[in-house]
Subunit: 297 residues, 2 copies
Amino acid sequence: MKVFLDCIPCFVRQALHSARQATNNKRIHEEVLRRILRLSAELDMSQSPPAIGRQIHRLTKELTGSDDPYREIKSRFNNLALRLYPELRKRVINSGNPLDTAIRLAIAGNIIDLGVKTSIEESEIEGVIRDCLTADFDSRAVEAFANAVNQAERILYLADNAGEIVLDRLLIERLPIEKVAIAVKGSPVINDATMEDALIAGLPRIVEVIDNGSDAPGTILETCSEPFRGRFQDVDLIIAKGQGNYETLSDSDKNIFFILKAKCPVIARDLGCEVGEMILRKSRAFSDIGDLVKEAE
Amino acid sequence: MKVFLDCIPCFVRQALHSARQATNNKRIHEEVLRRILRLSAELDMSQSPPAIGRQIHRLTKELTGSDDPYREIKSRFNNLALRLYPELRKRVINSGNPLDTAIRLAIAGNIIDLGVKTSIEESEIEGVIRDCLTADFDSRAVEAFANAVNQAERILYLADNAGEIVLDRLLIERLPIEKVAIAVKGSPVINDATMEDALIAGLPRIVEVIDNGSDAPGTILETCSEPFRGRFQDVDLIIAKGQGNYETLSDSDKNIFFILKAKCPVIARDLGCEVGEMILRKSRAFSDIGDLVKEAE
């Protein structure tokens, strides 16, 4: 998906927020703002939003001298999600449809996205969880997802953000974990999950965790490591979490299920949904014959 | 009030929105965006937000070739407000405290501000009116306002936006109109009210209407006409409506009552209030002896 002009002011806002996380020096905040405005004025608009986000956040990290401005925020959301996890896990297990419930909770976790919002209240997350457990949701998509998972030999789960990754664990636990690897970012960008966050979520104890070698807030294969690219090509099912992964993989020819909460008008327009909607959607390239037959019925 | 760094991405968003109102040509949208980003990178940050807004919107109007990108939107909101007006007027007249009700409705009208939001639904305005009629509101400030109005010899009411100006009429009608003049902008900027909107609101039939000769989305005296500046200095009470007038006059040494809805975090921080709060506040310079005595009691 190509960037929209609307994304640019949003990136400028993001960079300012990031600079403020990195330092209290107001002179640096202003310098970051001016440099990001200059960079933005000359951008190649044929890129995806995460390709631009990568440039914006690289420059912000360079100018502030912080390699991880969101470290503290990520830790806070990991801790919050870990506090909620035991109770949510019970809800999944005791649910009439554990896979459906786990997907809903993984989507709720996608609210922890500091690319879209500058701040998220802890109470807001609990509200989103409640809403996601009861909102209308496409049961046919859940069924198609279950079929795809059953038929797949090798599954790659592309994680999105810190905190969120703890709720992803609820969904990972419903998958045939021997077939699954979960991928995190190679180095920090916004509040995207890295290996550190996967460790805090306890994921390496239950599933293979790899990093993608990249600092893009999405999955841009050219920026990923050789081993990750090999793995990406090798698997027969990809579960892509969050807006950044949708923005970078929506035109991919791989079998992908996108799982996200549509949080901004640009994404909602691209998906043809309302802002706030829960999305579980197959990639256009998905060509599972069983599903095609099913849809033809 | 000086601009905050947070205002800059908001101005970029505003310019893009304005360009889209002016033309469907996407090449021009992108050109406006890039030029505004370049302008923003070099801004003098010691200016007030409306001083910067004036530059941003001048450049946008120049690049799009439209002298009034918000013409259609202004007309739509004038018409909406005129439809609501008769019923709201009855509410004021039949209210236990007509002045209080009229101030609340004038504040509700301040939601029609396309500097802060890119779109406002008509249904949203009716909701805001309902909320403003019942929300907590400082009755001492209303009393102080009534005293100031009674003691004043000459009152200048600085209007804010189109549509909103129709609801301002409800408040103007509660004032001693022979003492009052209402000022609109000299030429279009965002959806700020000009003489055309005052005419549509029927104001010249009941009160003197002047224009300030300026295209700033606030009141920057240096950009206003000589006659307006004379009038501004001459009056002993100014009623300043909306965020733009607060941003440009908050440090003035005139006796001013600011009337607005605090719609963005930057303004709310400056006012020390919550976003969404209704504001009726005297300027710091206000030195009405009666009020001082009253407050000392």
